[in-house]
């Protein structure tokens, strides 16, 4: 396969026909360049949107109470629905397919939180232990709220990294220390971080404690859970939930205003479908561009063969076999497409790299890169396309009769 002489022969031909080679290579380089740019920007858009999504769990379902818009069972329109701890318990027990679940009780306004002489205003979120997964939070130190905290109404808190930074400027170790939340001391049990910047600016406390401390009774304001089910199954789950809530709170199941449900799983899947659509579209355009490149190379190689008819005739007269002529043309074509394609590849990746840096803070675009496997596929595609582009002209060249070629003045 590897014949140094053959390559020297090809190199010397290429070297002596620089302009021709340059023109041939350009179309391929351009094709690959476009493919990489297209794929990269598609990927960038996808990365961006996915990052926005992944700040929280992508498989969560959120329930909000609303206000009835239909009269039902003797109750009038406009009644506010109130969630209670019973809703939490019922959902937790009755509905199957729940992975992590949490309710939330809203404390009024932002809380002033202090540690010694440091003060700050941060969101106070009361929740169940499952909320860590719903928010995609991860622990830096210590632990999150746990079930015993809930059961024993413990005054404990897990704080965001930004909160820890703001209040522990003196370098104290936060875990174990007491914070004052609206004047009430809470012991810090952990420090967490979160992919979303907004979410590290808050503290979590047990929902049961919050209800007690802030006079909430058994009221909850949100119910959220994650599920391992598919989109279709999650839709069924929601139907079931609606029925359950309608029965317990006496509202019409068809009342769209009484209970609001937000299914991030569905939205996420829709985006995923959209992106696989975009990816297919990008590939079609990219391959179309490459085909144009292949046709270009093939076309130029045809002209090359025509131009070299006499040379091929001479070579045949002095003993070149058709096979050696085919490989001469074919390998030249493959070499040109591969090198040109590689240049296109490098330039495309380089440009994406620059764009990636320049657009760091643009929302919904992140790391516009064509990944390594794409580069490999593109390279294979190039070699194949070079072979295709060279084959027809090479075959034509091999069929040239030396006598006719020599007559060609």
């Amino acid at each position: 396969m590897f014949d140094l002489d053959k390559w020297q022969e090809i190199f010397s031909t290429i070297q002596k026909n620089k302009l021709r080679t340059l023109l041939t290579g350009f179309s391929v380089a351009w094709g690959i360049f476009m493919l990489i740019i297209l794929l990269g920007s598609g990927q960038g858009l996808q990365n961006g949107v996915e990052t926005e999504f992944k700040q929280d769990a992508v498989n969560s379902i959120w329930l909000f109470p609303g206000q009835t818009s239909k009269a039902h069972n003797g109750y009038s329109v406009g009644r506010r629905i109130k969630f209670t701890n019973e809703d939490y318990d019922q959902v937790n027990q009755k509905i199957s397919g729940i992975e992590y679940i949490s309710s939330r009780y809203f404390t009024r306004g932002n809380g002033v939180i202090s540690y010694n002489n440091e003060y700050g205003t941060f969101d106070i979120i009361s929740c169940h232990p499952g909320y860590q997964n719903i928010e995609n939070a991860s622990m830096v130190k210590g632990r999150f709220i746990n079930d015993i905290d809930i059961d024993k109404f413990r005054k404990v808190t897990s704080i965001g990294t930004q909160v820890a930074e703001a209040l522990f400027k003196n370098g104290d170790e936060p875990v174990g220390k007491y914070l004052k939340v609206n004047g009430i001391p809470f012991q810090i049990v952990g420090v967490f971080t979160d992919p979303s910047e907004r979410d590290i600016n808050r503290i979590y406390i047990p929902v049961s404690t919050a209800q007690k401390v802030f006079n909430g009774g058994n009221t909850i304001h949100r119910l959220s859970f994650t599920t391992t089910k598919s989109v279709e199954e999650s839709e069924l789950m929601i139907e079931e939930l609606k029925k359950d809530f309608a029965k317990r709170h006496n509202f019409d199941v068809s009342d769209e205003q009484a209970l609001f449900v937000n299914n991030t799983l569905r939205e996420y899947k829709q985006f995923q479908n959209l992106f696989s659509g975009i990816r297919i579209f990008v590939w079609i355009i990219g391959i179309g561009t490459i085909i144009a490149g292949i046709v270009g190379v093939s076309n130029i190689m045809m002209i090359v063969v025509k131009e070299r008819t006499k040379e091929i005739g001479i070579r045949k007269a002095i003993g070149a076999s058709p096979g050696s002529i085919i490989s001469l043309i074919l390998f030249e074509s493959i070499l040109i497409t591969s090198i040109a394609g590689y240049i296109g590849l490098v330039m495309g990746v380089g440009l994406l790299e620059l764009l990636s840096k320049a657009m760091e803070n643009v929302p919904f675009i992140k790391d516009p890169q064509a990944d390594f496997s794409v580069a490999i596929y593109a390279t294979i595609l190039l070699i194949i396309s070079g072979a295709i582009a060279g084959f027809v002209p090479a075959n034509k060249a091999a069929k040239i009769k030396p006598i006719i070629a020599l007559r060609d003045e």
């Binding site: 002596k16 040379e311 007269a317 003993g319 020599l406």
Partner: protein, 238 residues
């Protein structure tokens, strides 16, 4: 070396059929220096192309070194050309983007001779043609006589048994022509069979045997001293 029996060849162009070679016998022994003469259209180039396995024939038989050359694959034809035959053309047919040395060495490339060795041999042959200092020049930097000597060196490098020259002096002035013919004679002296197609009387007179073609048939074959050996009586056929 070359034996031809009732050879026929015609070209079909569209609806017209042109009968170029009309069936003749020819025998050329090894080591002969032969010229083929005839007016244009007499079929002399066609004959040379058939002998050179550049073209095929329709009827009859052609033996090269007692080997029947009939329709064969391009690959085999290429192999035989490379092994037995050296070509010299009127228009030199050098590859324009290769220098003199590379042109001369090219046939050896198709014999899978290593680069170093073939360049060495090419230099040797260029030296014989007194062209050593022109080895790295491209063909368009050389004179007609130099180009033809390069072409001859290229034809000789594979040490062929037969040299076929199609109007080798057609593009050269008379002084250079004589020089080139001298080279052919020297080659012939080493035992190589040389066939030269020409329409120049001076050139043919420098060979040992003159074959005259007319309308696809052999009109006469004469030896160097001018005595006709055979006279074809079949002209009337036409």
């Amino acid at each position: 070396m070359i034996r031809i029996e009732s050879l026929h060849k015609s070209y079909v162009t569209g609806l017209n059929k042109l009968h170029v070679l009309k069936g003749f016998d020819l025998n050329i022994e090894e080591g002969e220096l032969v010229s083929i003469m005839g007016s244009s259209g007499s079929g002399k180039s066609t004959l040379l192309n058939i002998i050179g396995i550049l073209d095929n024939y329709d009827e009859g038989k052609y033996y090269l070194d007692n080997m029947l050359i009939s329709s064969m694959s391009e690959k085999k034809a290429a192999l035989l050309r490379n092994k037995y035959i050296g070509f010299v053309f009127q228009s030199f047919n050098l590859i324009s983007f290769k220098n003199a040395l590379e042109n001369v060495a090219l046939p050896l490339y198709y014999q899978n001779v290593g680069r170093k060795k073939r360049n060495m041999m090419a230099m040797e042959f260029l030296d014989k043609m007194e062209l050593r200092e022109w080895a790295h020049h491209l063909p368009n930097e050389l004179s007609g006589g130099q180009k033809q000597r390069i072409a001859i060196a290229r034809a000789l490098i594979t040490k062929p048994r037969v040299i076929l020259a199609d109007e080798p002096t057609g593009a050269l002035d008379s002084a250079t022509s004589i020089e080139v013919m001298k080279i052919f004679k020297e080659i012939n002296d080493q035992g190589v069979t040389v066939l030269i197609v020409t329409h120049e009387k001076d050139i043919s007179e420098m060979t040992n045997k003159i074959i005259r073609l007319k309308d696809g048939l052999i009109e006469s074959i004469e030896t160097r001293n001018g005595k006709p050996i055979t006279h074809s009586k079949v002209e009337a056929y036409v």
